[in-house]
């Protein structure tokens, strides 16, 4: 496998121009997402989805002024994208193998295999992947797998005028990001923090991580995402226990105290070995009274 490639989105220099959204759609030939005025600052595409693989969030933050005038002090902008998790829930839960990990350590859907089961959709802790209803398949950012194979950087990073979106080997991006945070903090911007860069987080570190200027949830990101399949062994253990319990309960119903069962036939196997029947509480009073 080649070096792991990733995105570092430095929101401190994002100007919200949405060139990433447009370049992404243009390159990947995505359909539009409808023409709806959302009245949520300058964001009219809402969130990532089947047809929006880069999404710029706009967050207006007010500063309480002495005269009660709440002028905006900060306008945070951030270009969100698929995180290409180290432990990717979408990939884990995909039943068909349509989702796979590429040689660049990114996570990509093969649209010719996806049968649109939709399981990846609620599995993603970031709400990234979605099914396009008119098409029936799940879609998300491929980190421009085709461009990468051709030696090009992804379209969004290419289009970003201020280098808010940086593409490169993940290790390199991580150290660059740490330097950047250190510098911002030294400049008094204590709120600067990295999101998704740590391999010890709930998804094993994201292939696309961010420099944020506020809590992740302010940008619509989960504060502590965990890949759901981390708990899968436990899930199966509990399900196993339930299955055994159910089996036991059914057995009990047939073999329970005083033979809860009703009239028995004489099956080839079991009939003669069955417990003696009797009319218990649950049994029909009438016995075979029909």
């Amino acid at each position: 496998m080649a070096e792991r490639m990733g995105f570092f989105t430095d929101t401190s220099v994002c100007i919200g121009c949405k060139a990433c959204e447009v370049a992404c759609k243009e390159w990947n030939q995505l359909p539009d997402d409808g023409f709806v005025f959302e009245a949520t600052s300058y964001d009219n595409t809402g969130m990532l989805g089947a047809s929006t693989w880069r999404h710029v969030a706009f967050i207006e933050q007010a500063r309480p002024a002495p005269d009660g005038d709440d002028g905006v002090e900060r306008w945070l902008m951030s270009s969100d994208v698929c995180k290409h998790c180290t432990h990717a829930a979408c990939l884990d839960v995909c039943p068909t193998g349509a989702l796979f990990r590429t040689e660049f350590d990114t996570v990509v859907v093969q649209s010719d295999i996806c049968n649109g089961c939709g399981y990846c959709v609620p599995a993603c802790p970031f709400g990234v992947i979605d099914r396009r209803e008119e098409d029936g398949r799940a879609w998300k950012c491929t980190m421009c797998y085709d461009r990468q194979r051709g030696g090009l950087e992804p379209a969004c990073a290419k289009a970003c005028p201020t280098d808010s979106i940086q593409f490169g080997p993940l290790d390199e991006l991580r150290s660059r990001a740490e330097e950047r945070v250190a510098r911002l903090r030294a400049d008094g911007r204590e709120e600067a923090r990295l999101y998704g860069e740590s391999p010890s987080d709930g998804v094993g570190g994201a292939g696309a991580f961010f420099l944020l200027l506020d809590e992740p949830e302010v940008y619509g990101l989960p504060p502590d995402p965990v890949v759901t399949t981390r708990d899968l062994p436990a899930l199966w253990r509990w399900a196993g226990a339930a299955a055994v319990s159910a089996a036991g309960a059914v057995a009990l119903a047939f073999l329970g105290p005083r033979g809860w069962g009703g009239s028995r036939g004489r099956g080839r196997w079991g009939g003669s070995r069955g417990l003696p029947g009797s009319h218990g509480v649950l049994g029909s009073r009438g016995g075979g009274g029909r």
């Binding site: 220099v13 100007i15 539009d32 709440d70 905006v72 280098d163």
Partner: protein, 835 residues
Amino acid sequence: MAECHPVGFQWVVEAKERGARVFHVDPRFTRTSALADRHLPIRAGSDIVLLGALINHVLTNGLEFREYVLAYTNAATIVSEDFRDTEDLDGLFSGWDPETATYDPRSWAYESTGEQPPAERAEGGPLHAEAAGAHAYGAGGPAAHPNPRTDPTLTHPRCVYQILKRHFARYTPELVERLCGIPRDGFAELAEAVTANSGRERTTAWVYSVGWTQHTVGAQYIRSASILQLLLGNMGRPGGGILALRGHASIQGSTDIPTLFNILPGYLDMPHAERHEGLDQYLELEGGATGFWGNRRSYLVSLLKAWWGDAATEANDFCFGHLPRLTGDHGHYTTVMGQIDGTVKGYFVIGENPAVGSSGGRAQRLGLANLDWLVVRDLTLVETATFWLDGPELETGELRTEEIGTEVFFLPAASHVEKEGTFTNTQRLLQWREKALDPPGDCRSELWFYHRLGKLVRQRMTDDEIDRPVRELTWDYPEHGPHREPSAEAVLREINGVGPDGRALSSSTQLRPDGSTACGCWIYCGVYADEVNQAARRRPGREQSPVAPEWGWAWPANRRILYNRASADPEGRPWSERKAYVWWDAERGEWTGHDVPDCELRKPPDHVPPEGARAEAALAGTDPFIMQSDGKGWLYVPAGLADGPLPAHYEPHESPVTNPLYAQQANPARRTYHRPESPYNAPGGRFPYVLTTYRLTEHHTAGAMSRPLAYLAELQPELFCEVSPQLAGHLGLTNGDWATIVTSRAVVEARVLVTGRMRPLRVEGRVVHQVGLPYHWGWGGDGLVTGDVANDLLPLVLDPNVYIQEGKAMTCDVRPGRRPRGRAALDLLEMYRHG
């Protein structure tokens, strides 16, 4: 800048990374503000107060770059005794003629040295005002004395420095707070930053766009910045300057090779029917004899040779008589009035959508409806081509399709990727673009269209004398491809010019007044030097110096910073190591540096011109502003502006504020159209809010290039107005709901975006609310998204120097809910106008 020039904004971000401080002055908190160190919300239309206060701050505290100011500006020059300031005449300068509503600028002149220029030579007066002559001077400016009287101690009461001091004395931080709504601490921070960041070691740049120009005092906004930058020594130096961001790709190119009515290529004046008899008289009247404009005969004769070739001879004034003549104002809005009045019969609209994109859309459409014929060339079927079918006046019943006689020709155009040619960007950089693909169907390039139109017209020419100018035009460009596309490189080469040997010229200094050279635009001379398309150079920046001289080609002479002689001190040494750019190499006896020096290479810094010298020979070795007749940066403009030698604060034509500085409320020389098609808002309480219009990153101008594109249209799908939470609360506007905006011109509905990015400002002791409206929507134009036309709200009132409309500051009223339809909309307007 981040909003409308996001690609260019990367350099601001980079500068910030290197420690630059960024201030953003704007009525709204925009995407630029988001990345700026400080946003200063300002009342739209009050910028001269802010800039004037900065100038005053510099002058009263002695913070100017004294050595620079003394050597490179006209600070020491003594002005005529006859001059009276606005401070003396309550808002008027001397020379005001209330009859014609124009200035006679003679009293503004430098003190006479005995040789007074003729009256018509000193620009101004009615003819000048009518034909927007000031713009014709471009970078040059009109004639002034090459060696006026000066006082190097700057103490003479009539020296420019002292005049400035007196003029700006009332522009104080208090006034800024009162009129702009900028609190004193904000102003103090800005003033401190700007002055501390100017001098030998540091420079400050101002960046502006149409937020500064689209005012009735637009040109004076830029003048204010010029004064400040000259005082601080920030002109002609790296990291300095006043950077104009143009509104489209190559709109700089469209002023260099103009689409404007009053200039010829290279900012040569368009001849006037009454003023200019022949070539000699024209050259005598237009501009001074000293400075590089002193060579204008060479520039014009070479232009005439490029256009009429062998037909242009010394004997026939090089076909000067073939040039069209001005008879008055032929500007955009006057043309529209001519259409309404029936004096303009035909109209070419090329890549423009005035029915949506120009001020006063209703007047525009009424004009279109009164034409005989209309040609529209565009990428999509813009509203200007369909006004007769689906325009808003049909809904109101003011127009009926069957009664519109205009014959409309729509011709599909090729886009920029479907044709080759150059773009000239905002820093005068020409960049060659290859054609990426063939235009679809009948779409053709503008070059093809005009070349073909010219050929067809020429076929119809007779031997009649009146047809001679067209008949004799050089019109022989090589063609290629199945559609016989003319060669754009051949056109570029013609613009570059050729010498007597037929070889491409390499510099405008090679141009000759005798007809031996031909050049289509003298400032572009050199773009095809050595028979090489220099604009096509694409050597990456990392492979060359930070100036990157081998990326494209910048006019003039591939010079990246104009007037860069000022980057060295009078002795020719860099002002500081840090800011070294060009300097005098005494050993080699020539100027050198990182850029092409903007002076004669071998003229030593201590050169004193001989008496009576002309053109560049009249410039001293210390004169950096080589296009000015005196080689100086003009803090004070003795001639050439229609509305005064100094900027003074006037309120916008429509303003809720009374000008506290002068009895003169608005610019007295502003151009107005008192017409029923586009009436002005009455002053008073009926229109209590300030309205400002602008563009969004997601769309392009009137939307013809963005509304039909799903990827752009979905990003900003509807016309919206931005209002503060306070105004929304006051008016009962709900975020996401509808509002109706009213002026006496139009009633427009928009979605409401309630945002703290709009701040109510405290102006003159009361709260002024501003309403923001992007103008990208129209009713059709193949748009996936449509909306009302914001520009319909705008008044037709213009800056007197360049005839730009006041689109950035006016008054309006706002009502919750959607607008009335049809006849009811007219009734509402009627109520606002008279009710």
